[in-house]
């Protein structure tokens, strides 16, 4: 997995967020969570996994080095 895959997943998540397919459903998951809420709860967990992937595979090392380098050019 590289930066491109992380970017692809990031954009894909915006589409997955628009869950029109559950719009008029109110059945409960585990007996208490309406599906519209359960789906978005899982979506939040997926966001955290994507965050981990971004940190693991697309971390801006060069920016970190740039900030830590000593030549102040202000």
């Amino acid at each position: 997995m590289g930066k491109r895959m992380v970017w692809f997943l990031f954009i894909l998540m915006f589409f997955l967020h628009q869950d029109f397919w559950w719009w008029d459903h109110s059945f409960l998951i585990l007996g208490f969570l309406p599906i519209g809420l359960a789906y978005h709860g899982i979506f939040s967990i997926a966001c955290a996994i994507l965050g981990w992937a971004a940190v693991r595979f697309a971390w801006p090392e060069e920016l970190e080095k740039f900030a830590e380098s000593s030549d102040q050019s202000k």
Partner: protein, 570 residues
């Protein structure tokens, strides 16, 4: 009274923390404003999360879910998990890097340098203040709305004019607002950004833990998790909206209403199949009419409400969380980070923290539709549920302290940030760095913070009945409209000073236009349900691109300074 004592103890604890952070204060302006870039991953996560979650998250989300249902979570929370984390990664780390490298303390310093324009700072300063103030107001209003119901009866002879008759003797919003402002002011005054980071961390832990505890107690009071799912208001085959249950305080349990209590009726719905549906558990738009009893005269009246969200509103709401990219107080928190690595935990855990706080609040709001009168003010729903379902005053005090924690963990950063930008971007910038000593700079910031706290307090008293959620959305919309500015500054070499000014002007003018149409803070959607933030964002983006392309590009020195990747490649 016990509840009040618990809340007072919590506030004292917070003040103690303020004294403690003051002992760690190094006495320099850099330490006061950005904690000498010393904040590690956990403190950064807690302070960033605590800052972004305010009365809006706890009081506002519960109230909005009570009004419109569980779609509130997808509308604001889950999309924020994605967008906020993306912004921390793409904007936050980059801004931190420039701040660390070039010594910036405020956003305006960065923009002035990036666009090589002094005037840009003077143009942006009043706009940032204008947009942060409503954010401050929602904290103070939210605190007032929360404390009054839970302290009802504490001082019946002192406070004889409550917001609603059942809250007679409760601490009035003006007094809560005053105390909250003074406590926040004290620890920000003493500890600066380090004090705010410590206090935020402590308060974020408190409100997350207390949120979970409140949730568990509410579930127990509703007869268990599965029974809670049956509680929300239901639509009958006669299109009436009924409450099948009520909470009996004597029995301390949920009992069935025989027959179900009619609280309103369905006027129209997007769905054909509404019979036996719990409209707060889906997102189809349903127009309803509720009954409301005037608590003072007992007179019945009717009001209309739309449950659910239209799909176009849901989609365009994704522009609202972009606001975090331009929050000046968040910029300041980013700059406190010890290293870029400090951001890693925030990027990963922020969506989970949002989930832990928002899912219970949204569920409680939906459940409240089945046991509370529909006419109750939305910001009072959370405390009304605590008061109704959780009998123990000590526990109510602790849970209310959790709500206050969420509110104050945002107020502190915002007060500090306004003091910081005024001192650095206006006073010191005009007079020159050598004009003032470090001690004088800190004093100027503190004096300005006192002025802003005072002004905000009086404005909050004037707007005390505003809807916390709607006011927050207007504040976020303004910052979202400014997002193209920071994105272009960081990622588009061709972005020019003129493009930046045009973008800011387009953002502010379009925002003011819609804010005026909304009646200054009400809920307002354009056309088929588009949120104004989407249009303001588009206007600001177009202005940035068009004006930048027709004006002279930035100097090669500016490009080299702010696009270091290019330098390393060439």
């Amino acid at each position: 009274m016990t509840t009040l004592i618990v809340i007072a103890c919590y506030l004292c604890l917070l003040l103690t923390l303020g004294f403690f952070s003051n002992r760690l204060f190094r006495g320099t302006s850099k330490d006061y404003f950005v904690a000498s870039h010393s904040i590690g991953p956990f403190l950064l996560l807690m302070s960033v999360f605590g800052t972004t979650m305010t009365a809006f998250a706890l009081v506002g989300s519960t109230g909005k879910s009570f009004e419109r249902g569980i779609g509130t979570y997808g509308l604001m929370a889950s999309i924020s998990g994605l967008v906020h984390a993306g912004i921390f990664f793409l904007i936050g780390i980059r801004l931190w890097a420039f701040g660390k490298k070039y010594g910036y303390i405020t956003q305006i310093q960065f923009f002035r340098d990036r666009f090589d324009s002094d005037k840009l700072g003077y143009f942006l300063f009043p706009i940032l203040v204008l947009l942060v103030v409503p954010y401050l107001l929602i904290g103070i209003i939210g605190a007032g709305k929360t404390i009054e119901p839970v302290t009802a009866g504490a001082f019946p002879t002192f406070f004889t004019n409550p917001s609603a008759p059942p809250w007679l003797g409760g601490i009035p919003p003006w007094l809560t607002g005053l105390v909250v402002c003074l406590v926040v002011l004290s620890y920000v005054f003493m500890g600066g950004s380090r004090g705010a980071a410590f206090a935020n961390t402590f308060q974020t832990i408190v409100f997350m833990v207390m949120g979970v505890v409140a949730f568990i107690f509410i579930i127990n009071a509703l007869g268990g998790i599965e029974n809670a799912g049956k509680i929300p208001a239901r639509i009958t085959d006669q299109s009436a909206i009924v409450q099948d249950y009520r909470y009996d305080k004597k029995q301390a349990s949920i009992v069935a209403n025989e027959p179900p209590r009619v609280i309103g009726k369905v006027l129209s719905s997007e769905s054909d199949d509404v019979v036996n549906q719990q409209p707060h558990f889906w997102r189809e738009t349903t127009q309803v009419e509720f009954k409301k009893k005037n608590p003072k005269t007992g007179e019945l009246s009717f009001f209309e409400r739309e449950l659910g969200y239209s799909f176009i509103t849901f989609v365009t709401y994704l522009f609202i969380p972009l606001s975090v990219g331009m929050f000046p107080h968040l910029f300041q928190h980013w700059l406190t980070a010890k290293s870029a690595k400090s951001f890693r935990l925030t990027v990963i855990a922020h969506p989970l923290c949002i989930m832990v706080v928002w899912v219970p609040c949204v569920l409680v709001g939906a459940w409240a539709s089945g046991v509370l009168p529909p006419g109750i003010p939305p910001p009072a729903v959370l405390s009304a549920m605590l008061n109704l379902l959780v009998g123990d005053p000590i526990l109510i005090g602790l849970l209310t302290a959790g709500v206050l924690a969420a509110i104050m963990s945002s107020l502190d950063s915002q007060f500090l940030c306004l003091g910081t930008i005024f001192t650095n971007d206006i006073v010191v910038h005009r007079a020159g760095k050598k004009r003032y000593t470090d001690k004088q700079i800190i004093s100027i910031a503190r004096i300005f913070i006192i002025c802003i706290v005072t002004l905000t307090y009086f404005l909050a008293m004037l707007a005390k009945d505003a809807n916390v959620f709607d006011l927050a959305i207007w504040c976020f919309s303004g910052f979202s409209a400014l997002f193209p500015l920071v994105f272009a500054a960081l990622y588009w070499k061709r972005a020019t000073k003129q493009g930046a000014i045009a973008s800011i002007a387009a953002a502010v003018l379009s925002w003011l236009y819609y804010f005026h149409l909304s009646g200054y803070g009400g809920e307002y959607l354009v056309g088929p349900g588009i949120v104004p933030a989407a249009i303001c964002f588009a206007a600001a983006s177009v202005a940035m691109v068009v004006v930048s392309l027709v004006t002279d590009p930035p100097s090669p020195q500016t490009v080299a300074k702010f696009f270091p990747e290019n330098n390393s490649k060439s």
